[in-house]
């Protein structure tokens, strides 16, 4: 290359760099200018899809969105009880089959329509007909619902259902008129699609927040509803709440690092959470919401059909080591996690005790022929941390002569395997959460015979006595008596040892502590319970945001 050509090349290159820098600086400048406002916002990442239709959504992200945009008749308290909400009072019949609610008059939906008993009846019927989301909470218990007046509604149950009031926190009330005005072609007869198509991206609620923009698979932006019937005593509540549909580690870390995110999702790895917690003004918040990591033992298949073999396994797991090394911040559990109202505080979880394990094994019918009966343990390939648990179980079981064969299985395959007792592995490592905030929910979904064949019960317990006890407990309206019955069931299940209850999972999130008051984090700090109902720790009406106090780096929000 000639010298003159080289100089020309260099000049052109420099010119290009100059122009590029100018453009990029302009870009940066414009961004700063646009964002020079202090809007109160909570930006939170979570998994997608977020189903904002109350008859469809029931996962974590959906529950957060729904509880912020819709109201229910009762509102969950942190201690597991409920308080009057849309229903200002109620009467329960002597046989506990009829619940009559009187509604708060004059409650307005986001579009200005008045909420009446007809909307409540419509919402329940819609939920039960569609059968998705939280519909199962009512399909088995509710017989009929009717409006007794503009503000009076009555539910008739098929049989007494003790936790009915608690379950009602999942009956979100939609504006019938608005839904009916947006029906599309569908399979529900006169109700066409029951508004499902429209409600994918719109809301018809009366909650403290309403949909501003819904970018499918990208983000949901909710805006404060100024006409909220319960008022805005909290003047520092966020004006906007944005649910960002990503849990990608690098994206979440970048967002919180540049101050463009107030709270991370709970799906980050321990390493990522710890790294983010080291960022300036960022803290880690950890609380319990009733989810347990189990190794479900197939009680219908050798060698886990033997109670002594199961107990031997239970005594040879190093729970403390798993908690300390793999899942810091979690805690031991039994059939019901401690965060669920109705758990038995007298039960002491199994601990590592190889002598006891050996003694139990000797009583097993498989003792002496263990080589012929290896313990098949499947873990879900999408959750790599489970492999470490499986390996720890394998190592400890080997000490008492139990051979553990570990298999990595995709989640979809494991669901298929769990459909039949013969194909269900001896052990399946699976997380399970309660459907509503009470021990009865966990007991029913985990150990009642109706849940066999689903991924919630790999134990195939099918114990008639347990079934009867669960049904009887759920039919008990008096909470104290119901909880006593739960204790009995938990003790019986504990004695049968159908599960290795590895730990109670902690919900962990990093958040900006310099300008955000996160109620759940505050409760944890003060040693108070957090709300046990999934989603309600993100009830944004209770949050406080002070963008003016935000330290750098901070990316203000533009609406």
């Amino acid at each position: 290359m000639k010298r003159s050509e080289f100089v020309r090349f260099l000049k052109n290159g420099l010119f290009f760099i100059l122009i590029a820098s100018l453009v990029l600086n302009l870009v940066g400048f414009q961004q700063q200018t646009l964002a020079a406002t202090n809007i109160k916002v909570i930006r939170h990442t979570d998994s997608w899809p977020a189903y904002i239709d109350p008859a469809v959504g029931s996962d974590y992200a959906s529950s957060i969105s729904i509880c912020n945009m819709y109201d229910s008749l009762v509102f969950p308290n942190p201690d597991g009880s409920v308080k009057p909400w849309l229903a200002k009072s109620w009467v329960i019949s002597a046989n506990a089959l009829t619940y009559t609610f009187t509604l708060v008059p004059g409650v307005k939906f986001h579009n200005g329509d008045t909420l009446t008993a007809a909307d409540v009846v419509f919402s329940l019927q819609r939920l039960m007909t569609i059968g998705e989301g939280y519909g199962y909470l009512f399909t088995s218990s509710v017989k009929a619902a009717k409006a007794l007046g503009t503000y009076k509604v009555q539910f008739t149950l098929k049989q007494p259902f003790g936790p009915f009031l608690g379950a009602l926190v999942r009956l979100y009330i939609l504006d019938k008129k608005q839904v009916m005005a947006h029906l599309r072609t569908g399979t529900y007869g006169a109700f066409k699609d029951y508004g499902k198509g429209w409600l994918v991206t719109h809301d018809a609620g009366s909650g403290p927040y309403k949909v501003k923009t819904m970018k499918t698979a990208e983000s949901l932006l909710m805006e404060k509803f100024n006409g909220y019937w319960a008022g805005w005593a909290n003047k520092d509540a966020p004006q906007y709440a944005e649910e960002i549909g990503t849990t990608e580690a690098v994206t979440v870390r970048t967002l919180i690092s540049r101050g463009a995110l107030e709270i991370t999702d709970q799906w980050q790895t321990e390493e990522n959470l710890a790294a983010m917690a080291k960022l300036p003004n960022t803290k880690l918040c950890s609380f319990f919401e009733g989810s347990v990591l189990n190794i479900m033992l197939n009680t219908k298949k050798a060698p886990t059909d033997d109670i002594h073999f199961r107990k031997a396994l239970a005594y040879c797991v190093d729970y403390q080591q798993i908690i300390a090394k793999l899942f810091p911040g979690t805690r031991p559990s039994t059939a019901c996690p401690r965060s669920l109202p109705g758990y038995d505080p007298n039960l002491k979880p199994y601990t590592l005790d190889l002598a006891k394990a050996q003694a139990e094994l000797k009583q097993s019918k498989y003792y002496g022929k263990l080589a012929k009966y290896p313990f098949e343990l499947d873990w879900v390939s999408e959750v790599p941390a489970e492999e470490k648990i499986a390996l720890m179980v394998q190592a400890n079981a080997a000490k008492i002569g139990i051979k553990v064969n570990i298999t990595k299985v995709p989640w979809l395959s494991l669901i298929d395997l769990l459909a039949k007792p013969a194909s269900t592995p001896n052990g399946s490592v699976i997380f399970v959460a309660a459907h509503y905030a009470e021990a009865g929910s966990m007991l029913e979904s985990r150990y009642e015979s109706s849940s066999t064949g689903t991924w919630e019960q790999g134990e195939w317990l099918q114990n008639p006595q347990i079934d009867i006890l669960i049904k009887a407990a759920l039919a008990t309206v008096d909470q104290k008596k119901r909880f006593q019955k739960y204790y009995t069931i938990q003790e019986k299940i504990f004695a049968l040892c159908p599960t290795l209850w590895i730990l109670e999972q902690a919900i962990k999130q990093d958040y900006r502590s310099d300008y955000v008051v996160f109620p759940a984090a505050e409760a944890v700090k003060q040693g108070k319970p957090v709300n046990p109902v999934m989603g309600y720790n993100f009830y944004y009406r209770d949050f406080k945001v002070f963008p003016e106090k935000a330290k750098q780096p901070y990316t203000p929000f533009t609406a």
Partner: protein
Amino acid sequence: MEVKQVKLGSFLLKRFLLSIFVIIGLSIVIFIIARVVPGDPARMALGPRAPEDVVQALRKEMHLDKPLPVEYFYWIKGVVRGDFGQSLVSKRPVAEDIKEFFPATMELAIFAGILMVIFAILLGVLAAQYKNTWIDSLIRMLSYFGIAIPAFVVAIIFMLLFGYYWPILPVLGRLSSGITPPRTITGLLTLDSLIEGNFPAFWDAFKHLILPGVALSLGGLFQEARITRSSMVDNMHKDFLAAERGYGIPEKIVMFKYLLKPSLISTVSIMGLDFASLLSNAFLVELIFNWPGISRYGINAMLHKDLDAISAVIIVFGVVFLVVNIIVDVIVALLDPRIRLGAARDV
């Protein structure tokens, strides 16, 4: 001239008819594969506690209770009418999802494709022109890096560089919260905002394209730059160029008019394949930049056994591959008369 056009038309018609058979074959294969994956899609969609009658109703609605050929017949009948079924994940018609997510990925792929075309040719020409100099070596080195590093790693590096250390470009989605989106005309935000004259939206959408677009383009770009360079170096000493030079034609014209054109044939062929691959390879880039594209949608559909969505996404990708291949064939034919005449002879 007219004869040539007729021949090219026949060639295109033949390719089009062949493509229909390929799509039908693809639809059968993907339909079967999607159903072989373990898991009951209806139960998965409705959750473990959904009442059995509701699950059965969904199975019936999706024709899952019918034998596979009958199921396929119902599905293909719907597809012909533009009805790809209902997504179990997004809970809306798959056609609606495709309409929303496909343009997002197309916009990304087109932007990455434009970068690929411009910079691959530029770098290729530059490397060939300054063969065996430090410029050539630099481009070669960059190419090795560009080809070897996967797009998602580049995306992560960009995310850290421009999202954290030098936060000058947006790293999330297609449009900032404060910007009013343009009316959907093509679904390509940059184009729609230009048509509407909504310049703030155009500028914002363009900025959102930069990081994922560049990350996606680099692999193909450097690969094509290397191919362009090799072809040009191969052709550089051909007799016809010596003749052009002998006529005293300036080197620049020789370079761009007489050398580049025949050298581009192999580049264009690879470019076509690379462009089509951009759509399916965009998954991780879309995931990192939270880009609501069809690639991410497709992977999500597979993870949730969203049968109709899986089939629809594969069909769409298949169609894009075929269309791009036909376009590439036409461009190559236009670049090289020998191929054009050969194709015409085949017809």
